[in-house]
């Protein structure tokens, strides 16, 4: 087998579809006789729905049905609710990771009359056109009992509930802190962020008898299939979830949200397909967020900079209807060599929709506090911030007490600092200038856990010369289609142009969520296994009586460049299949992590070096340069892998400088759109120079890949804040950094 494809820059196999408008995203589907759903959201954040008046809306042009609490199937059917016979009963999803049926919001739509957050659905109008549904939704009137809302973490004294399973402790952090010569005790906050995937959440549901098919913009077709089966009380085989192309998700589309359930019920009620596309405004309320957080860091070192104690105590927002834990300190115990460490996490209930995973959930928030704190400690010690980190490099995983499978953080520091020119940094605050602008240089570490899950895949060799690979995972823009094709091409020797990849359909062999940077390490071993299996199957066919290699031993045959060979003669799989004759042969495989987790600790590491420019005359702050070196094991496709890291750096700039979902005191979001919720745009983008080290991690999987989606965002906001301090002397501990924080 020739090694020419894996690890090499490969343009996307689905590129032409995306570039010509032919890639089918959820809302691009228009099913025959399709109706349109338009949700009616609550305008209050906390209270009770007293009355819903749908009479005028019901009379509006084109309206087919209005779905609401009065006619929606309930958890507990009763005679008092004639619309809800036992046949139409719904169940809550158990919502577990283990059973692969986790949902974003456990409460079913319209389950009770409580209003728990602004934008909670109070009805769904179904009409013949999008315009009619939207117009009628305006005519729905509601009367509420309004309760005082908790608009956010920073407006309540509630300390929250301890998330016990997050607590980590080693040594005596309090004792070590007391006696240490150099100390830091600071609090850091991060505003709530919204994922803002370009493609809005959408569902198109259709029933054929008791079979449900739903097109959904999801990062997990299998999870959603399982959750819907639970909710409707039907076998999973009767539910199909399709997501061929996803306009990204960043975590917001990992777990199903209530609009999908509402749309599926509506379709069953009206007996035709229903398409619901959430408005951008509704995407802010009902589809997750990165919760606001507060972190208290106490850190101590000796005068040489050796860390003696780290305590990292965090709080995150959760909703009143779900219990969401942001594992903010989860990276802290592994970040540096330190004998005395403790981490804790508390959840505080607020009147927001339930938070969910957002790119590098937990660790990216933790990295803001920890990596700014390291910079502060370096200043306190009069030490270079990179030197302080070098001094506390963890030679092995201090928490698991295991060797790292591959920790090339020192190489990352060396490479990135050299390319950035860090040795030219004058540590004096505000000392580096260029005309009107004060230049600040800061750095921070990046890190993310390497995870792997179980996966199935199927590979078919076809008589028409095509190789088809199928897996029920998704490509959310990360390039999964391409790396799956590369893997099959590598192992079969068949060119990429003859390889078809099928993803994004729950009827395919069960694949993983596209999240947590684990898809590559999870999917490729299964694809490789299925490819080897199909080659074995082909050999068996080829040695049968009358077949091209009749009488040969299967083991004596070799498969190369799409051909079987016995050493003297080669026959293509096409000719073998046509000779037998058979239309195709298929192979399947499952792959799962083994016992390697007991032997090694798997993490990726990297370093960001950031230059900012502050022009005090016109109060302009901008990031002007980012140099990052990241070790992700092996990049299967360096072209798409680097793109992901660059994109994560951009999102990290958003976290550090722009992004904040803002609530008024009544708990209503007042920047719920793409203009007022500020994200980086073309004009904000600095020179970004990313290098990926190439150190394959073969302990983790045969391809040596650890995944790449999350790591680039970790540490970015801290590196920016550290650079801002270097330029201005202002230590900003609250993200995002605001211009107002910097004006004297």
């Amino acid at each position: 087998m020739t090694e020419t494809i894996i690890g090499h820059r490969t343009t996307r196999v689905d590129g032409e579809l995306k570039l010509t408008g032919k890639a089918d995203y959820t809302s691009d589907h228009n099913l025959p006789n399709q109706a349109y759903g338009y949700p009616v959201p609550s305008t209050i954040a906390c209270g009770k729905l007293l009355e819903l008046d749908i009479d005028e809306a019901r009379q509006a042009p084109g309206v087919i049905e209005i779905v609401h609490r009065g006619n929606f199937p309930q958890l507990q059917p009763s005679d008092n609710n004639p619309a809800c016979g036992t046949a139409a009963r719904l169940y809550r999803s158990p919502s577990t990771m283990a059973e692969q049926n986790k949902v974003g919001e456990v409460r079913l739509p319209f389950e009770d009359d409580g209003i728990h957050y602004e934008g909670q659905y109070i009805a769904l109008v179904v009409a013949d056109t999008f315009e009619h549904a939207r117009a009628a939704a305006r005519l729905v009137k509601a009367r509420y009992e309004v309760h005082e809302a908790v608009p956010g973490l920073f407006s309540t004294d509630d300390e929250g509930e301890e998330a016990g399973d997050e607590a980590v402790s080693r040594g005596d952090p309090a004792g070590a802190y007391e006696t240490a010569p150099v100390k830091l005790d600071q609090t850091y906050t991060i505003a709530m962020e919204t994922h803002m995937a370009m493609e809005m959440h959408a569902s198109i549901a259709t029933w054929e008898d008791d079979r449900l098919t739903i097109y959904e913009s999801t990062q997990g077709v299998v999870f959603q299939r399982n959750a819907l089966a639970q909710i409707f009380g039907i076998p999973p085989e009767k539910v199909t979830v399709i997501a061929h192309y996803i306009g990204s998700g960043f975590g917001s589309k990992l777990f199903m949200w209530p609009h999908a359930v509402m749309t599926a019920v509506a379709s069953r009620m009206v007996g035709r397909p229903v398409k619901t596309v959430l408005s951008r405004q509704q995407n802010f309320c009902n589809a997750g967020n990165r919760p606001a957080s507060r972190q208290h860091v106490r850190m101590a070192a000796d005068r040489d900079g050796k860390l003696l104690s780290i305590r990292h105590d965090s709080q995150n927002e959760t909703s009143f209807i779900d219990s969401y834990t942001e594992s903010i300190g989860s990276g802290t115990p592994r970040a540096y060599a330190c004998d005395n460490v403790s981490v804790s996490q508390r959840r505080v209930q607020v009147n927001h929709g339930t938070p969910t995973s957002m790119r590098a959930p937990g660790e990216v928030s933790g990295s803001v506090a920890l990596e700014i704190a390291m910079d502060e400690l370096a200043i306190e010690l009069g030490m270079d911030p990179l030197e302080l980190r070098r001094k506390n490099f963890a030679e092995r995983d201090p928490t698991a007490d295991l060797p790292w499978s591959g920790n090339h953080l020192r190489e990352c520091w060396d490479d990135a600092s050299r390319r950035f020119g860090w040795e030219k940094r004058n540590p004096e605050i505000g000392s580096m200038r260029d005309g009107h602008e004060i230049i600040g240089w800061g750095m921070a570490d990046a890190t993310w856990e390497a995870m792997r899950s179980h996966c199935k895949a199927r590979v078919e060799l076809r008589a028409d010369g095509k190789v088809q690979v199928a897996c029920g995972t998704q490509d959310i823009g990360t390039g999964t289609y391409t790396i799956v094709a590369q893997t099959a091409a590598e192992l079969t020797g068949v060119p990429l142009s003859r390889i078809e990849v099928k993803l994004g359909d729950s009827m395919l062999p069960a694949g993983p969520l596209s999240g947590g940077s684990m898809a590559t390490a999870t999917v490729l071993p299964a694809v490789a296994g299925a490819t080897r299996d199909v080659i074995e199957q082909l050999k068996q066919i080829a040695i049968a009586d009358g077949a091209p290699f009749a009488g040969k031993e299967a083991d004596s045959l070799e498969f190369k460049n799409g051909e079987l060979s016995d050493g003297s003669r080669s026959v293509s799989f096409v000719d073998i299949l046509n000779a037998v004759p058979r239309g195709m042969v298929e192979g399947e495989a499952s792959a799962a992590p083994g016992d390697e987790q007991d032997k090694f600790s798997f993490r990726s590491f990297g370093a960001h070096f950031v230059e900012i420019r502050w022009d005090p005359g016109i109060s302009r702050l901008r990031v002007s340069r980012v140099v990052s070196t990241i070790d992700i094991g092996r990049a299967i496709n360096p072209l798409t892998a680097k793109n992901q890291v660059e994109g994560a750096i951009v999102m990290g700039m958003g976290m550090g400088m722009f992004e904040e979902t803002e609530y008024d005191p009544a708990g209503n979001i007042y920047n719920n759109n793409y203009a007022d919720y500020v994200v980086p745009v073309h004009a904000d983008i600095p020179d970004i120079e990313v290098e990926l080290l190439d150190n394959p991690d073969y302990n983790f999987n045969e391809f040596g890949a650890r995944g790449v989606g999350e790591i680039g965002i970790t540490g970015m906001a801290a590196a920016i804040s550290n650079a801002v301090y270097h330029a201005t002397g202002k230590r900003i501990r609250d993200m995002p950094i605001k211009i107002a924080d910097l004006i004297d």
Binding site: L19, T20, S42, G47, G62, E199, S248, M651, N672, V681
Partner: protein, 190 residues
Amino acid sequence: MADTPTTHEQRTGFNEAETTVAKRTGPAGRADAAATTQQITLTINGEKHTLEVEPNVVLLDALRERLDLTGSKKGCDHGQCGACTVLINGHSANSCLTLAVMHEGSEITTVEGLAKDGQLHPVQEEFLEHDAYQCGYCTSGQMMAAVSMLNDKRIGTDDASVKEAMSGNICRCGAYKNILSAVQSAREKV
């Protein structure tokens, strides 16, 4: 959650931003205006399409929901993200901010009309080569804006001018660096 039972009447399920759009749609939400449809002929990618629409049908929705031209995407419906960018008489425009009935006689180009005779447009070729996308959802808008900008002699050819001109097209995946290099490479070919 202190109980302070005040009551609140909801006239509409919409926030302010949406109300603005809804107001602009005029009387279509009223039952008595149900029949006010209009026949229009749109010229899209050189082909004429005749359709019967109410006056509040937005061009983007006409393309996507009536004509199955779904390459133009909806990312905000407010003219804020640029995913719906098309060319109207050669100039880029947010198709979510204009009504279908206003475009009788306009020459509209969507992403479906960029490639000619199976040959990708230079901008498409360079987007492929430079990996100027990830999820691909903003891509048609980015490319249409780029085509318009590359033909606009008023816009400078340096990176800063391109970035400024393209800033109405958001890429949440953050593939901006590659989009810039793709656009600049395509410049020599258009």
